[in-house]
């Protein structure tokens, strides 16, 4: 069975059923009308103006930070970044110093960050997909209670788990390695990941899954060939969330891995960039931008999935 053939049976069934064909157009028309109203409201020039103003207001601090990161220390101290046209002294020293100024170059921490982030995104998503499928499409006793229990886990703040988890890791003898960071991020991400992916999966019309089952597909086939293609936006949007959270995380890395160069991610280094007593503060803006580059690329690259993923939940209905 190919992907294209999967949605066909329900469509042909609908065509034969007269009651459905009459109701369907009217409902679609209502949705269309609502969408048209929303579109005209959203595309009025005033709305655009407000949107642009908000976008500018939100971008100004980032832009100021970017300008500051290129200015020499004495300039930053004596004048604001907006005086750039009158004080055109720009330098790459801050970047040079932030990247290569310490005994361990920032590249090492960059690599650590990547090594931490990729498994910490892939592991929870893989596990959550399986769990979400079971909770959504496999009928077993206590399913609702289990789902609520997982959902409720989101209430536990990660701060209260830090010390118990760390003592556990210490007694297992794995503290201070990548393993504990991957494990911890997976633990913290799973409740939300299962919840979100479960809701996306529930949104897929049951007839689709039933039709596949009628055609003789088992759970594995349904999961990989029917559901997975439809879930891509949901997976991508959760992957962005998880990526940003892990990439920007300082607390988990600092507590479980510590600050040694073997395992410390970029955030740990950037937090210490200004020196013991904060005298190297001019490096912070450059360090922040170096750390920001990767999430920015990931976000821009996956943006279309992100929007589609958010829509996937809202348009239905």
């Amino acid at each position: 069975m190919t992907n294209a053939s999967a949605p066909l049976p329900p469509t042909s069934l609908l065509d034969e059923d007269e009651g459905d064909t009459t109701r369907k157009p009217s409902r679609l028309a209502r949705v269309d009308a609502r969408a048209a109203v929303a579109r005209s409201k959203l595309s009025s020039p005033w709305t655009s103006l407000v949107a642009i103003l908000i976008a500018i207001a939100w971008t100004i601090p980032t832009f100021g930070l970017l300008v500051t990161s290129f200015r020499p220390r004495s300039e930053i101290r004596t004048s604001g970044w907006w005086t750039l046209p009158w004080n055109p002294g720009l330098t790459l020293d801050n970047y040079q110093e932030a990247l290569f100024g310490s005994s361990t170059s920032l590249i090492t921490y960059f690599v650590n960050s990547v090594v931490i982030t990729l498994p910490a995104v892939i592991i929870p998503i893989s596990l959550a997909l399986l769990a979400a499928y079971a909770l959504a499409w496999v009928d077993f006793k206590g399913r609702a209670i289990l789902f609520v229990a997982i959902f409720a886990l989101q209430v536990v703040p990660i701060q209260v788990t830090l010390i118990p988890l760390l003592s556990q890791y210490v007694s297992w003898g794995i503290a201070g390695s990548f393993w504990v960071i991957w494990l911890s991020h997976s633990i913290f991400a799973l409740p939300l990941a299962i919840y979100i992916l479960h809701n996306f999966m529930k949104d897929i019309p049951p007839s689709l899954v039933e039709a596949a089952r009628m055609d003789g597909a088992g759970h594995v086939k349904i999961f990989f060939q029917v559901l997975m293609p439809l879930l891509t936006p949901a997976i991508a949007s959760f992957a962005i969330f998880q990526f940003l959270w892990v990439w920007n995380d300082l607390l988990v890395a600092l507590t479980f891995a510590g600050g040694t160069t073997d395992v410390a991610p970029l955030t740990v280094r950037v937090a210490e960039l200004s020196g013991t007593r904060g005298s190297q503060w001019q490096l912070l803006s450059a360090g922040a931008f170096i750390a920001l580059v990767v999430p920015l690329i990931v976000f821009l690259g996956l943006q279309r999935y992100f929007v589609r993923g958010l829509m996937a939940g809202s348009v239905k209905g």
């Binding site: 005994s103 040694t260 937090a271």
Partner: protein, 459 residues
């Protein structure tokens, strides 16, 4: 530079997880710099290290609040120990040290050695985790008694047991000034408190557009600490060292009348619109100006006096020379009279959480003059120790030399930073916040002290 590169090779070896012999590491370092590592090894005189024995293949983890670039000087100063004994030091610095160390202790994952910057923190760790903190071994006790004054040894002692020895030291009773400005205007370095106030008034009259003093107490989540130093310094001068000790140990209440009069004296400068805030704004601006940015008006002669520790030297613009005949320098914050010389300072304490022989050996090394001298040699500026075996000729910055002279001069009465000795709820919380409110919100003297007294833990 040489040391920096060599250090990197150690870290690389650690990263590979291989406990290589140190000779090998030195050789691998030599690959990219033409055998420089071998030359350095033969330079080190290992006779002083024989007492520590052969520690080949042993690793000692060190956890501190000292991060780069200062940590490079730390790790460089361990090289003689590493090369002579064969042990390897795994250094980890974090600015979150004070929050993370209790977490590690509670989770059973302590480092072998930590440098604790506050005696109060040390005391609370001994109280909370009596099994985790290991008392100092005999070799360390001997070193402490031989090379440190009784006062310093006492700060590392909890309930009669010596736990920690001092590592670095700093001196806080300094007033930074511009020697050029003083020379141009014929100002003299004041030697009594009254002279200081007279000088302040003279500057005020001579420069109506400038202000004599400048200050800033903003320091992230530790905002307010420079103001606590002000109060402690003045407290030592108006009430004396004995009352200061009683105040720090809470034998007299925090809002005792003697503290109130000290705070009024501080307010006479910091809350006097005629005296502050040179080049920065009004009295309230003190609360929002970053402490390490607050004296920048001194070279511009918009501000003339700035009370700050010797480590403020790292904050000056690189183009300024710190020297008595340079652009900026500091004089001793005078006492009530020329003979009354209290000295406020601070430092870190080497605390051990393991009693393995290599850890004890490293602890002994850190309390020895060999280490103090090795550290001074690799440090450009901004470090000194209270170790009397330290050779002052090795200190490279004039202000460090001056600090060391004051620390080792018996006519000065040394007292450790009071807020560092108080319980955390006061010394690292209420004291900071109330002093910030005292300046930023113009809270009254009495209310400020009452609020801090109320925050003192009951036990």
């Amino acid at each position: 530079m040489n040391g920096t590169r060599r250090r990197r090779s150690y870290l690389a070896a650690a990263a590979a997880g291989a406990s290589l012999a140190l000779v090998l590491t030195a050789c691998s370092g030599g690959d990219d710099e033409g055998g420089g590592g071998d030359d350095a090894a033969s330079d080190v005189d290992c006779t002083a290290f024989e007492q520590y024995g052969d520690l080949e293949g042993k690793t000692i983890s060190v956890y501190t609040s000292i991060v780069e670039p200062e940590s490079v000087q730390q790790t460089d100063s361990y090289i003689p120990f590493e090369e002579c004994t064969g042990a390897e030091i795994e250094y980890e610095g974090s600015r979150e040290f004070e929050a993370q160390l209790p977490v590690r202790l509670q989770a059973g994952n302590p480092p072998d050695i930590a440098y604790v910057p506050q005696p109060g923190f040390l005391a609370s760790m001994v109280a909370d985790y009596p099994d985790a903190v290991v008392p100092a071994p005999q070799a360390v006790i001997d070193n402490a008694n031989e090379y440190y004054t009784e006062g310093w040894v006492d700060y590392g002692t909890v309930d009669g047991t010596l736990y920690a020895t001092p590592l670095g030291a700093n001196v806080k009773s300094f007033v930074w000034y511009s020697p050029q400005a003083f020379e141009d205007n014929g100002y003299e370095i004041p030697t009594t408190w009254d002279d200081l106030i007279a000088l302040t008034d003279q500057i005020k009259d001579d420069f109506p557009d400038a202000k004599p003093w400048c200050a800033g107490i903003e320091s992230g989540d530790a905002t307010g600490w420079p103001a606590t130093d002000w109060l402690e310094d003045v407290m030592l001068r108006t009430a004396g060292a004995d009352v200061y000790d009683q105040w720090v140990n809470h034998e007299i209440p925090f809002n005792d009348p003697q503290v109130l009069s000290a705070l009024e004296t501080v307010g006479g400068i910091l809350k006097n619109p005629d005296y502050v805030n040179g080049g920065l704004g009004d009295v309230q601006s003190i609360a929002t100006v970053a402490w390490n940015e607050s004296a920048n008006a001194i070279p511009d002669q918009l501000c003339f006096l700035h009370r700050a520790a010797n480590f403020y030297q790292a904050n000056w613009d690189e183009s300024l020379t710190v020297a008595e005949d340079g652009d900026v320098y500091a004089f001793y914050l005078p006492g009530e009279s020329a003979d009354d010389k209290p000295l406020l300072g601070g430092g870190e304490f080497v605390t051990a959480f393991a009693d393995r022989p290599e850890v004890q050996a490293f602890q002994a090394y850190l309390s020895s003059p060999e280490w103090a001298n090795a550290k001074a040699e690799v440090t450009g500026q901004g470090w000194l120790s209270a170790n009397s075996g330290l050779d002052p000729e090795l200190l490279q910055s004039p202000i460090d030399k001056l600090s060391f002279d004051l620390l080792t001069d018996d006519s000065y009465t040394f007292r450790f930073d009071g807020s560092d000795q108080m319980p955390g709820a006061v010394g690292a919380d209420a004291f900071w916040k109330q002093m910030t409110a005292w300046i930023g919100e113009d809270q009254s003297d009495q209310e400020t002290l009452d609020n801090i007294e109320a925050a003192w833990p009951a036990s």
